[in-house]
Amino acid sequence: MSHFSMIEARPLPGKKSRSISWRSREGRSVIYQIVAILSALALVALLVRNTLTNMRLRGIQSGYDFLFQPFGFDISETVIEYAHNSSYFVAFAIGMLNTLKVAVIGIVLATVLGVLVGVGRFSANFLVRKICYAYVEFFRNVPVYLQLLIWYLVFTEMLPDLDQAWQAGHFFLSKNGVSFPWPVWQLGQTLALIGVVLGLVFAMVYRRMARAHFDRTGHTRPVWAVSLAVTLALAVLGWLVGGAPNEWDLPKKGDFQIEDGGAFSPEFMALLCGLVFYTASFIAEVVRSGIASVSLGQHEASASLGLSKSQSMRLVVLPQALRVIIPPLTSQYLNLTKNSSLAVAIGYPELVSIANTTLNQTGRAIEALSIVMLVYLTLSLLTSALMNWFNASAAIQER
């Protein structure tokens, strides 16, 4: 009879050596990191030292005190009040608002055009398909800066002079830009706007309730129709309560310019057209690849349920494609915003253009550029955060 004895347990592994040595992987990684950080710090220190020496030698002043001195230049387009003796600070604020103005309008228009073209590439109609393809290939393969210059040429030289401005109703188009009627802002408009906001809040609540109702009973409720009706009704109500103002600020042809009304300058129009047509070609590709990523089975399944082609696109394909579309779409929005900086070449007073004037006027290159970079970085981070939030709401819901 043999006697089995248990094998002795292995000894507890020794405590990992915490000493930093070249022999262990951890030790090396600590050393690498220390070296990396030190060299980064040394580089920064060297640059700062060089810069300070150079600035002292060349007699360049530094500091942000210039922000409170008068800007001293006319700004052709201002969203907020600007007087001739307003400070650099106000000028920068105007530049930033102008950037935001073109970016927001541009993003909306580019998204609409891009989605139309992207969906158009799946059209059953041969001509629609090919025209969308040609559009994408052409606008994607020419530098946006060149397109901007061409649009600028179109808006400043090829359109008719003021006295022969193209006119359609109360809309004018000429070398002086685009003019359009704009309501005279009164209490009624404000209340109508409040009505719209309330309507949108109602729509969100109602949609949630309808979804809960659907989950409980399986009956759908007309979400869109009801939301639209309530929003419109609230807007009209606000307008009526505010005294139903119906005064319009109509543009009129004057001797030197189109007076009154709302107006977009040729610079703004050139920038907007350039950015929208360029970015839309990229958005179209993003949308196309998103739709192509939805498996054929989904198309077939929705067809066998009897959905029409547009219904299956709207209800089945696009919601799934959205997951693929949103991240690259975010990059396109950021690109559009950043590309608006090219306006410095055509004289639209956005942020970089103001900074450029500042730089030439005061010589404070570091300060002016640091403000620009800070603003763009903030904008980028905000847009990303917003789109990430939207992305999370579109992401696949898994158990």
Binding site: Q33, I34, A36, N50, F126, V372, L377
Partner: protein, 367 residues
């Protein structure tokens, strides 16, 4: 009782599904709405075709005849501006008698880029070919050797400058991007943070601000007395910019690689750098070749911005050629169309290549 069986009538032959009529029916006139849309689009296309043909060919002036051009203004294009100014637009400020030098140098550079794009040339001799090409390129462009007159870099311009900025910045950005991409995936927090900071800071700002920085701030950063050529500064700026974008592309390729590959390399006893060099990078880079091409195309287009910091590449040379000459300035749109065509031809060729390589890699994935 007998039952008489009668066969049912044969079904009618299905309509033709091939041939021009069937094609038209399926692709253009499948429904009433579709037919109306097709007709409207056809009309618009025809109108656009006829009027652009009329403007660009029938009514156009082709010789460099200013009088004829001015007469045709408004009705037809004046392509004479290209025969008159084309050389200036394509070559920029480079001295006219030396134009053969940038032509040969650029052709050489493009040739090497083209063979680098062909998988059959991807071997150990390629880096050597690049080194030789770059040496010959700079000798030809800059001169000062072999009896060639010296041409300062501020005289370089036009298409050669566009090509050079793209190719050089890309070549420099590539290794930088590889290291940054590896750094972002490293498990050393400090290095990861530094790389992430670099990428996010650069991608968050427009290229113009980077170029402004290169042209106004880099001189301040340099030690006292050191002066750097503006061309070099701009190349540094563009390299840092495109390096950040390319690092993200390469990071995507690294992420797509299954973990088993590095684990297998570890069991073979390969060190970190051996693993990256022989196992990880070849596979990761091959999967992202199309995206790298996209970065390349983007870079080629973005070089047009160096005009803003006063370097006269293709777009800048055009402004230089026409703004100084009041006679020909009215025909700017024709000149713009001309360089639009050049940019389009280059970018379209590159995007076709990218598609081709994508199909090729797709073939290699089929088992």
């Amino acid at each position: 009782m007998t039952t008489v069986f009668k066969s049912t009538e044969a079904r009618p032959m299905p309509g033709r599904s091939t041939g021009p009529v069937a094609w038209l029916r399926a692709n253009l006139f499948s429904s009433l709405g579709n037919s109306l849309m097709s007709l409207a689009l056809l009309a618009v296309c025809l109108w656009a075709l006829v009027s652009s043909l009329d403007w660009a060919v029938l009514q156009a002036v082709f010789g460099s005849n200013l009088q004829a051009c001015n007469d045709a203004r408004g009705a037809g294009a004046c392509w004479g501006v290209i025969s008159e100014k084309g050389r200036l637009i394509v070559m920029g400020r480079y001295p006219e008698i030396e134009h053969w030098r940038p032509v040969i140098a650029t052709a050489l550079m493009l040739g090497v880029v083209v063979i680098s794009c062909m998988p059959r040339f991807w071997n150990k001799a390629l880096p050597l070919i690049w080194a030789v090409m770059l040496a010959v390129y700079f000798v030809l462009m800059k001169g000062g050797f072999f009896g060639l007159t010296e041409v300062d870099t501020d005289q370089w311009g036009g298409l050669p400058l566009t090509v050079m900025l793209t190719v050089i910045s890309m070549t420099l950005a590539f290794p930088l991007a590889i290291f940054v991409a590896l750094g972002r995936r490293s498990n050393m927090p400090a290095i990861r943070t530094l790389c992430t900071l670099y990428v996010e800071l650069v991608r968050g700002v427009p290229l113009i601000t980077v170029l402004f920085m290169a042209s106004f701030m880099l001189p301040l950063f340099m030690p006292e007395g050191v002066k750097i050529d503006v061309l070099v500064r701009v190349v540094v700026g563009i390299t840092l910019f495109s390096g950040a974008y390319m690092a993200e592309v390469i990071r995507g390729g690294l992420q797509a690689l299954p973990k088993g590959q590095t684990e297998a390399a570890a069991t073979l006893g390969l060190s970190y750098w051996q693993t990256q060099r022989m196992i990880v990078l070849p596979q990761a880079l091959a999967t992202v070749v199309p995206s790298i091409m996209n970065t390349f195309i983007g870079l080629f287009k973005d070089t047009s911005l160096v005009t803003i910091v006063s370097l006269y590449e293709l777009t800048g040379a055009l402004g230089l050629a026409l703004n100084s000459d009041a006679d020909w300035r009215p025909f700017k749109i024709e000149a713009y169309l001309f360089i639009t065509f050049i940019y389009f031809a280059f970018c379209f060729a590159m995007s076709r290549y990218s598609l081709w390589i994508e199909e090729r890699t797709a073939v290699s994935k089929v088992r």
